[in-house]
């Protein structure tokens, strides 16, 4: 057997494995997926909103938190991270208007450091982090509180969905966010929630102190904190029965930079926790292997794809060049004649099963997938959008090697 069919077979095996893994998890847990523990204890809650140049959205974010139906929000701390726009001015107005709103003004030092300074002054037993371009639904804070009745729970989150869905790129991200949300919930069933994301994450203050707060050196402080909590034995929970919406990039360049940062952060985390590999709890036995495998598959896949494309282009170029010399046709009906191998059959089958799986998840999440425009975007998402991930990873590796941490 040649090397390429072996590589294809390995990819297909892994795809079947994870498709089966998520499907079994869904089938087993489908009746309980929307369950969230009832509110029994009204813990005091500090909401931290780190903001850097967020004049367009900060007020709406604070208003969304103020509308929360949870009755024991003790304070909302807006941490202005040296914004150059009117963020501070708007924050001060909100501070004057609402008693529970406080403003912490500081020079620019990054989101992780801003949060750490906020944690120092926060008085709640629980701390919620809300990104300044995100909007929790009325019930989302309340629905996360019940998880903390379990003393082992260190963090909780809910689905993050796209708020702006008008444009093409936004719509693709909306599909992605929806799939990620249910995927994360399914991972919760095996205790493998790998991120309590910035748009809305709730933490037990003692748990945050246990891990020493957020890591300012990491580019994705929310993922790092979640892995750190997992490594220290804290459970991370997720409530699927609510949501927080966030503004997603509407320009390809901004989207690319955001994903690059996420990739770089992910790699930094794998590197940081490498000593746990196959050793300790969910981090060593699932999260590191799972994410390392994703990276490896991305790199190898991109490598194989590039190799095939380049050799194909060179071959076609040579054929065309020689065909001109000999006056022969270089493009014939035979070019389209194709005898599929078993790998082609299995690949096509996997694509169909994968499409059914994706559509089912979107359907479960009540996305209206039967609209014609949306159906087209799902196809684009499956075939092209996800194929961009490895390209982003390559640029992220390049930036990491160059130690270029700007974003």
């Amino acid at each position: 057997m040649e090397i390429l069919p072996i590589i294809y077979s390995i990819y297909m095996f892994i795809a079947v494995y994870f498709l089966s893994f998520y499907t079994i998890l869904y089938v087993k847990n489908r009746k309980n997926l929307l369950d969230c523990p009832k509110l029994t204890k009204h813990y005091s809650l500090s909401v931290l909103i780190p903001a850097y140049n967020e004049e367009d959205s900060i007020e709406a974010t604070v208003n969304a938190v103020l509308k929360s139906d949870y009755d024991n929000i003790s304070e909302i701390i807006i941490i202005n991270d040296g914004s150059k726009d009117k963020t501070l001015e708007i924050a001060r107005k909100l501070e004057q208007k609402y008693d529970i709103v406080k403003v912490l003004n500081k020079t620019n030092s990054g989101k992780a450091d801003s949060l750490n300074q906020g944690i120092k002054i926060a008085n709640g037993e629980l701390i919620a982090v809300v990104d300044s371009d995100s909007f929790p639904r009325e019930d989302s804070i309340r629905k996360l509180i019940g998880f903390f009745d379990d003393p082992k729970t260190g963090a909780a989150t809910c689905p993050v969905l796209a708020r702006n869905r008008e444009g093409f790129i936004e719509e693709l991200q909306a599909i992605e966010y929806t799939l990620v949300a249910i995927g994360r919930k399914l991972l919760e069933c095996v205790g493998a929630v790998y991120v309590t994301p910035g748009p809305l994450a709730m933490y037990r203050k003692t748990a945050l102190r246990d891990i020493g707060g957020f890591d300012p050196k990491n580019m994705t402080e929310d993922i790092e904190a979640t892995w750190h909590l997992a490594a220290n034995g804290w459970d991370r929970k997720m409530c699927l029965d609510t949501k927080v919406t966030t503004i997603v990039p509407s320009k390809l360049a901004v989207w690319f930079k955001q994903r690059q940062r996420w990739s770089m952060g992910g790699m930094q985390i794998i590197w940081k926790y490498k000593s746990y590999f196959l050793k300790k709890g969910i981090v060593g036995l699932f999260l590191i292997p799972f994410f390392s495998l994703s990276l490896l598959l991305g790199f190898v896949g991109l490598g194989v794809f590039s190799y095939l494309m380049i050799t194909r282009i060179i071959k076609e170029y040579l054929i065309i060049k020689m065909s001109f010399i000999t006056s022969t046709s270089f493009f014939t009906v035979d070019n389209f004649y194709f005898v599929p191998s078993i790998l082609n059959y299995v690949g096509a089958l996997l694509l169909i099963v994968g499409a059914i799986y994706t559509l089912s998840l979107l359907f479960i999440m009540e996305e209206d997938i039967f609209k014609r425009r949306k159906a087209m975007r799902i196809i684009v998402y499956m075939l092209f959008y996800t194929a961009l991930y490895p390209c982003i990873m390559i640029t992220a590796v390049y930036k990491l090697i160059k130690k270029d941490m700007r974003w």
Binding site: S9, Y17, S20, F21, N32, L343
Partner: protein, 233 residues
Amino acid sequence: MYNDNCCIQTNKEGYEMVMLDNKHVFWEALVIALFVLGIGVFAGMFIEGSRVDKISNMYQDSELNLLEINLQSDIISMNFSDCDSLVESNINFGDKIYQYAKILEKYQSSAVLTDSLIKEHKKYDLLRTRFWINSIKIKEECKNPFHTVVYFYDYNTGDIDKNSKQAVFAQYLKELKDRTGNEIMLIPIARNMGLTSLDLLIKKYNVEGTFVLVDEKLVVNSTDQLKLIDNAI
């Protein structure tokens, strides 16, 4: 590895958030993936096996035809018959194995699990070599009723240059055959199948790599010489 508290979470009011024991999911998914892999390998063997059977049947059919042509050729050498029917049979056979060669090439590119098609390819190359020899014999007996154009190529080469060159050679010869019809006997033979008899024949021409041999005289081994074939026939 899994979360121990995942099964039943109870809070103070007795509300139970029931989560099932999911620790077996890792193994269950592995079993399913292995099962699918097994089915895939089995189906692959079956598909490739049925293609080999088809090629085998075609081979048996071809072998019978060639035996008959051989016999006809012997009969002619004993002056028991005229050349016309022999030449016609030979041309028909040539067309047939040319078509079979194309099918074999297509199947070969889709074989990923077994190497049985390689053996079939070897058998076909031997058959085509015998056919070439027989065609030479017929040309001698029947005063050159056709031209033999034997195309020696490398089977399954990974070299892009060679691959491209072979694609152009194959296309050129295909177009030549379409233009000239029964005037030429086009015989493609893979030269790198480790067949001693074929190696002995090729050694005579002292040419490396891909080349075309026209009427056992003209050797063409580069694309810019291909036009010489047209001039020779």
